[in-house]
């Protein structure tokens, strides 16, 4: 039964991932007074990519071909352990916060290797930047996750979200707000959104993520785009699950509960997509060589969040 629930939960995340990307794109277009594409467009484009022929550069090795599998695999792992509908069903070893952080890092590392294995300066530049960002974002990510764990006394993603659902909103969430802001910084950096990266262009001045995957085509490109959509959805589900901890339930699952959970989940994703589209419409992209300021800010906000939690805990 537990495995069935895990599979179901993972499937929901996997199936809704392109939808989140579509929603962000369309909402962003509306903010810019454009009609925008249908929110289901990413499904169509990924499916058509699956049917296209692949071209692979002759200057690459097996690493280049392995990258999409590892990157998508790490995204699958996130989809498996993120408590999007239920909590307390994933084995505690697997949804540990530090394992979560390490799997995110593993995905980034292989994307970087993919960009390096092309013999093209475009990919190399994206890789160098992505690796720098992944390095500098690590302290903020770990401190934020540790703070949440400290606040809830649980060391798994499921336990953390479960704790927030079990307490009144006004008691549990406000102390964690600062940490959530820190996590938002991490989320924007990890998912190549504004102000760190511009997901919409192929200009060498602005891009990080798109530069790394420039040489990929066909199925592999679909896998990488799908992976980044899943990662966005999973991280968004964590943040929104803590901010609005409604609808997520523990194992004895009823059909009614399941329906509530699904509705709540999609509502949260829509809100999250709106938030990202809003952020992307009101701020500009930062120069890459000013990224240390952004990362320092993220780190200090994360530390501040930790300080708040420590004060709550010991006073």
């Amino acid at each position: 039964m537990t495995y069935l629930l895990i599979t179901f939960q993972a499937l929901v995340v996997l199936l809704s991932a392109p939808l989140v990307v579509g929603m962000v794109r369309t909402l962003k277009a509306r903010f810019q007074n454009r009609q925008g594409p249908s929110i289901f467009l990413p499904y169509v484009s990924m499916l058509s990519l699956l049917r296209k022929e692949m071209t692979i550069t002759k200057h690459s090795s097996w690493v280049f071909r392995m990258v999409p599998f590892v990157v998508l695999g790490s995204a699958f792992f996130l989809a498996l352990v993120v408590p999007s509908l239920f909590f307390g069903i994933v084995p505690s070893s697997l949804d540990n916060i530090f394992l979560f952080g390490a799997v995110v890092a593993l995905g980034s590392v292989f994307l970087v290797l993919g960009g390096m294995d092309t013999g093209s300066t475009f990919g190399n530049m994206g890789s160098s930047r992505e690796m720098t960002l992944a390095t500098l974002v690590e302290p903020a990510l770990y401190v934020s996750l540790a703070t949440l764990a400290l606040a809830t006394g649980a060391w798994g993603m499921g336990g953390i979200v479960g704790h927030f659902t079990s307490l009144p909103w006004l008691v549990a969430v406000p102390p964690a707000i600062v940490t959530l802001i820190g996590l938002l910084f991490v989320l924007l950096a990890e998912n190549a959104r504004y102000p760190v990266d511009n997901p919409a262009t192929h200009l060498e001045l602005t891009m990080v993520h798109e530069a790394m995957i420039l040489e990929y085509s066909g199925t592999y490109l679909a896998m990488l785009e799908y992976a980044s959509a899943i990662k966005l959805t999973a991280l968004l589900a964590v943040c929104m699950g803590i901010l609005i901890p409604f609808g997520i339930s523990a194992p004895p699952v009823t059909f009614f509960g399941l329906g509530i959970a699904l509705i709540a989940f999609f509502g949260k994703l829509a809100l999250g997509a709106f938030a990202i589209a809003f952020i992307e419409s009101v701020i500009v992209k930062m120069r890459f060589y000013r990224m240390q300021e952004y990362m320092m800010l993220a780190f200090f906000i994360a530390l501040l969040g930790l300080a708040v939690e420590l004060i709550v805990l010991y006073h």
Partner: protein, 665 residues
């Protein structure tokens, strides 16, 4: 009977390298000389590993396990499980590196004098074993000196100017360290050079707190200089890479652990540790970890990247030792409960660092021997030539960057999780552990950067030089030992992690596949992680087969915007780390300079422009240089006495005599 077997095996392991010395000198004219000597070393390592495993199988791995080896009635050595653990690292290192040396050394027979090199290696191996085995202060110092001096001969093995300089630096630093160790231990022993460890501990009971504090600082400086702790690390990035790669692996993978062993053993002699000691060790450890990782991320010499990373990892281990000192034996049971989890990290990371660092040094050595360069900017594209070897190297790099599913990840997970769980103990631990955790995350990120950069510079993209483009196939013994390291690294997570976490229940064989629970009951299971890796891998392969276009991919050129691109256009390792150099500019003291040289006298516009960048060593600039300047200033001042007038010299001699008599009488 069984203790006799262990006796015999340890004795064989100890003596075989010395047999190797004799054979090496006796057969130096034959071509199979190297193979013969290396087989002696391999046998020694093998015997030692069997003896160690037998020891643990017999006595368990709890702290109480100890064993009285009589070595046929010659000496009486009580072995405890910690000694055997470190001995096994030595034997494992000897086994792997000697296997590697069979094929890696002969191509260099014009560079190194192989028989002499092997003699130095043999004494080095014996010295390390003796250091760990020695039952008394005097034998310890003797063995330590044998180890240090033979390591010097390994460093200068190729007799190049660079090696001699590095060797000289090492020689000076290691003897400063030796002096500190000897002084510290003698202070504890009350001046009795021939005291056994037991006597040292007894006499330390009567030492004054001041003497204890001084002894602690001396031991930290002495063992820390050997382990490469900041600011006494200066020699390590120069010396370790200069040795032949197999020996570098031993120096970085094993000798640093012997220094750690010495420190732990030394601290165990103290009746109490001074209150500042924990904070001192923690801060020095964290500083080393940060500087090591940062320099590893910007270094261009592949072996030097590994050397800096050794500094980083030893820093991590020492910071954990500091935390152990802080929490161990605390009155508060919640605080002292942190200690076992920290100890688990120390011992796991010691083993893990040994495994991946030995493997990586051998792998980098194999690359260097085939491409004739260690400069990351001149390599590239090797993954197409050596696909299997690239896989081994990638696995070792991921292990070194502490990513799952390798053993290193589970070690570091233990550390991170212990710190995070420890935050709930009190406000003080909450705040300080949070800062340590944040710094460790940054160090982890930088290490990740360093290893990804090194792997991509060597193996990915296109070859940047003809040497790297036209490499010959790699002989089996150059990559097989590294493959063993990869397997060991996975095994360390699957088996070593559960075994070491529950030393007392393991003997019943219950915890091998179960969750490993550490402080606060938080658990992790390496088997689950490996299973999910396999599961997701299979799932993705099946999906790829069933859902997507199955036509073979079209092989094309890299997208070049209509202009042909050359290998020189790729990012070099230097370019890759440019953002890190920029972000940490003030700490790295990195500088760019545009040098303009006029070519034509008549036309000022015709010039040659060169861009050079440099990184200065922070500690060399702010610590070593001022000391050097001060020493020179003092000696210049003293030099005025040397005026060539014999009467003045006689006066000085008389003054010295009077002073000596006055102080002694």
């Amino acid at each position: 009977m069984s203790s006799f077997t262990i006796d015999c095996l340890f004795a064989i392991a100890f003596v075989l390298p010395l047999v190797g010395v004799v054979l090496s000198l006796a057969t130096r004219r034959f071509s199979w000389n190297n193979t013969l000597v290396q087989s002696m070393f391999i046998l020694s390592g093998f015997a030692g590993l069997i003896a160690g495993s037998y020891f643990f199988a017999l006595l368990g791995i709890g702290n109480s396990a100890s064993f009285n080896g009589t070595f046929f009635g010659l000496v009486n050595i009580a072995l405890n499980s910690m000694q055997v653990f470190f001995l096994m690292l030595v034997y494992g290192g000897v086994l792997l590196t000697s296997l590697y040396a069979i094929q890696s050394l002969p191509p260099y027979k014009d560079v190194y004098v192989l028989p002499t090199l092997n003699v130095a290696s043999a004494f080095f191996i014996v010295g390390m074993q003796a250091t760990i085995l020695s039952p008394s202060l005097f034998t310890f110092l003797m063995a330590w000196e044998i180890m240090s001096v033979s390591a010097y001969f390994l460093v200068i093995a190729d007799r190049s100017d660079e090696s001699l300089r590095a060797g000289w630096l090492y020689f000076v630093m290691t003897h400063i360290g030796f002096a500190c160790i000897a002084a510290g231990l003698l202070l504890l022993a009350g001046g009795n050079l021939f005291a056994s460890w037991h006597d040292v501990a007894l006499s330390a009971l009567g030492a004054t707190p001041l003497a204890i504090s001084i002894a602690f600082v001396l031991l930290l400086a002495g063992f820390g200089s050997k382990a490469g702790l900041v600011p006494l690390h200066q020699w390590l990035p120069y010396a370790h890479p200069q040795a032949p790669s197999g020996s570098s692996a031993l120096l970085s993978g094993v000798m640093l652990k012997v220094a750690l062993f010495g420190f732990i053993q030394g601290v165990a002699l103290f009746p109490f540790v001074p209150s500042f000691s924990a904070f001192l060790v923690i801060s020095i450890g964290l500083l080393s970890a940060f500087f090591g990782a940062l320099r590893a991320a910007v270094e261009n010499d592949a072996k030097r990247v590994l050397a800096w990373s050794s500094i980083e990892n030893m820093g991590l281990i020492f910071s954990a030792v500091g935390i152990y000192l802080l929490v161990h034996g605390s009155q508060d049971s919640a605080v002292s409960a942190i200690a076992p989890s920290i100890a688990l990290f120390i011992i796991l990371h010691t083993a893990n660092h040994f495994i991946f660092k030995t493997g990586l040094f051998m792998a980098v050595g194999a690359v260097a021997s085939k491409t004739h360069t260690r400069n990351l900017d001149e390599l590239g594209g090797l993954a197409q030539r050596w696909p299997i070897f690239a896989g081994i190297f990638l696995a070792l790099s991921l292990a070194a960057a502490a990513l799952p599913p390798f053993g290193t990840f589970f070690g570091e997970w233990t550390y991170f999780q212990t710190l995070a769980s420890g935050m709930t103990v009190s406000a003080f631990f909450g705040g300080s552990f949070a800062l340590i955790l944040a710094l460790l995350a940054l160090v982890g990120g930088l290490a990740l950067f360093a290893y990804v950069r090194m792997f991509s510079a060597i193996f990915l993209g296109r070859a940047r030089t003809t040497h790297a483009e036209q490499v010959s196939p790699m002989p089996i013994l150059l990559w097989l030992p590294s493959l063993f390291s990869v397997l060991l690294s996975i095994i360390a997570g699957l088996f070593l992690f559960p075994i070491l976490s529950a030393p007392n229940t393991f003997m019943e064989g219950v915890t091998l596949f179960g969750d490993v629970a550490i402080l606060g009951g938080v658990s992790m299971n390496a088997w689950w992680v490996l299973l999910s890796v396999i599961f997701i891998g299979v799932l993705l392969t099946v999906c790829r087969r069933s859902f997507s276009n199955r036509n073979p991919a079209r092989i094309t050129d890299t997208w070049d915007c209509g202009q042909p691109i050359t290998p020189r256009m790729q990012y070099t390792a230097t370019g890759f780390s440019a953002p890190i150099r920029f972000f940490f500019k003030s700490i790295l003291m990195s500088e760019k300079e545009l040098i303009i040289e006029p070519i034509s006298m008549s036309n000022p516009w015709i010039v040659r422009r060169r861009l050079v960048w440099s990184i200065k060593s922070f500690f060399e600039y702010w610590l070593y240089r001022p000391i050097g300047i001060a020493v020179f200033a003092v000696s210049r001042a003293v030099k005025r006495l040397q005026n060539g007038v014999i009467q003045l010299y006689l006066l000085l001699v008389i003054c010295a005599l009077v002073f000596t008599l006055a102080t002694t009488l």
